[in-house]
Symmetry: C2
Subunit: 342 residues, 2 copies
DNA sequence: GCTTGAAATGACAACGATGTCAATATAAAA
DNA sequence: TTTTATATTGACATCGTTGTCATTTCAAGC
């Protein structure tokens, strides 16, 4: 398998290697005639530029990074599959890195990755996407980045990113429970380092307010996005003088923990207690009863993030900085954990 | 942010860049004194070799690939975290790729990845690790690879890889059920494209044989590693004249499906039906009751795979091809799905 | 025909590492 | 001490590409 280099193409086309480089990179100032000669040679030899040489020499690089710090394997998997699919299609490489958002030197870690791997752009998932130190740093060095996080697309601000409107979705779920007649609804929230946590709580509070129900702080618990915290949280609720009739969980894992704990105490779901999750992760379908939840198209979200980032890195758009943002609204999925027979 | 190159290290350590290169690459013929000086400088400057430059110049590259085709997100996550941790420590890059092992052009896909990204080695997880076409191809082109799959370490063969002794573990679980007095034990297996599936079945059969119990083919179902197949499989078992008293599942997902379906039919677990899973994935702890299962240290396994692959790529060992293999035996974890109160 | 500016092209250095091979330091043998 | 073998080190070319800058080509304007 002989290696085909730019020299071979140049020789065959009868031009200099620099001209081949120009054609391959779609630069200006190449005559139509030359361009077609070179393209023919490229095709005949099946020439592919050497990525390492490009990355080594070029100012532009074709490598993105994706950072995650999330125990939710399904979420990370969806993200990375979506990103990879889009990046590889567009001839970008994607480096995937786990990291600890609470590490004191997190900014340095990010900085090292960027410089060492010469990243052209970075994709951040929550809670890293919500870390102001990291964002400030990226702004400072002017690296294109995409945050995949919670919020409303704020057109008019310079906040680029992909946003999931957890606020609205959470309100929908709350409304769903209210419609079923519940008035004492607890909220077992995840890690407040995630923007989503705040927004989901806000949606819940808005929902209650609209229905004219006072928010009872004793019914709101904050912890982390894990099954174990679901168990823990419900144990705390059990200590209350009277149980709520419904619990909204920060995500499906927490909901599964609550469900588990309810079962231990012989509380029937949904008859005595309605439980709703969030995220529509696979195991929201694998509990008994299945969990009512809010569904977001994670793979699609990731693909979109990659698309926008690539657009940001393409200098061919005319000067102006387009706003690169997009908003997704999770959909309510009603299942047996809130409504018998659903 | 200044980029740290080998020149900076050389200057600080007071040696030539070539000597730094030797230390970094663990080559022979460097005095202990020089080595420690250089290592100190590397550490002080936090120097990391540029992967592109290495890849471009060297005959050896420092990029591994990891291929997965597995719907079990927790498994893939554990694998990639373990591999990344080891690879990055040793200054190897790791490219992560999902792929479809049943694609007709799978070998070409693998080949393209290897050549286009100039991989130094490849790590395969099941079922890709069990695909003979891929393995044959890798042998043919002489690319170092590590299979992470099921089997017994067969010292003496040239079969390099990381093996999980599913056979023994499955037999342990079977024995556990036999000890509890079960004699009619069904097996709901996963996808037979995975070597693990065959080996787990073998362990089950051996377990029954040792106890002098005849294997009833009607109690053995083969499908795929999913919750849905667990549901489907149990529905089939329900059609039998009489139900088994215990079911062994190919993995935890299948077990969760069985558990779900049993609950739908008001069958108490473990009283009327004992269920055991395999893999000790997080949601084996998130069902009610929790699942008895077999636990394997996936992250550790992955890290070991990377270590062995790196060793294979290091020419500094004296000529001979060491056997690079390692075997892990999953441990039985007894929980409430087979034993009340466990 | 001559100047001129822009378009088109090429020569050459550079990116950051490793491979080759020659030079030097060190230890062992004579 | 001198010779010889070996261990240690460094100078320099090199990998395949792109950036810089100089050069050539060409059409338009005088």
């Amino acid at each position: 398998m002989k290696k085909i280099t730019i020299h071979d193409v140049a020789e065959l086309a009868g031009v200099s290697i620099k001209t081949v480089s120009r054609v391959v990179n779609n630069e200006a100032s190449v005559s139509t005639n030359t361009k077609s000669k070179v393209n023919a040679a490229v095709k005949e030899l099946n020439y592919k530029p050497n990525v390492s040489a490009r990355n080594l020499r070029g100012s532009q690089t074709f490598i993105f990074g994706m950072l995650y710090d999330n125990t939710n394997a399904y979420f990370v998997m969806d993200m990375q599959n979506g990103l990879l699919s889009e990046c590889l299609d567009q001839n970008y490489e994607l480096l995937i890195r786990p990291c600890n958002s609470r590490a004191p030197d997190i900014v340095k870690q990010v900085s090292d990755l960027i410089h060492h791997s010469r990243l052209a752009g970075l994709i951040l998932t929550s809670p890293l996407a919500d870390n102001p130190d990291i964002i400030d740093y990226l702004r400072e060095i002017g690296l294109p980045y995409m945050r995949i996080t919670s919020g409303k697309a704020a057109i008019g601000t310079c906040e680029d990113g992909i946003f999931v409107d957890d606020d609205s979705a959470s309100m929908h779920i709350t409304n769903h429970l209210l419609t079923l007649g519940h008035t004492k609804i607890a909220y077992v929230a995840g890690d407040i380092a995630h923007q989503a946590t705040t927004n989901r709580l806000d949606g819940y509070i808005k929902g209650l307010n609209k229905a004219g129900i006072a928010v009872d702080e004793a019914l709101i618990l904050k912890g982390e996005y894990s099954f174990d915290f679901g168990v823990e949280g419900f144990k705390q609720l059990l200590k209350l003088p009277s149980l709520p009739t419904a619990v909204l969980a920060g995500n499906d894992e927490i909901a599964a923990g609550i469900l588990y704990c309810a079962r231990l105490h012989n509380i029937s779901v949904p008859e005595d207690l309605a439980i709703a999750g969030f995220e529509n992760s696979p195991f929201s379908r694998q509990t008994w009863p299945k969990l009512t939840t809010a569904s977001q198209p994670n793979t699609e979200i990731a693909r979109r993030a990659a698309q926008l980032l690539i657009k940001m890195c393409r200098p061919d758009t005319t000067g102006e900085h387009d706003i690169s943002q997009h908003c997704f609204i999770p959909e309510l999925v009603v299942r047996g954990s809130t409504q018998k027979g659903a």
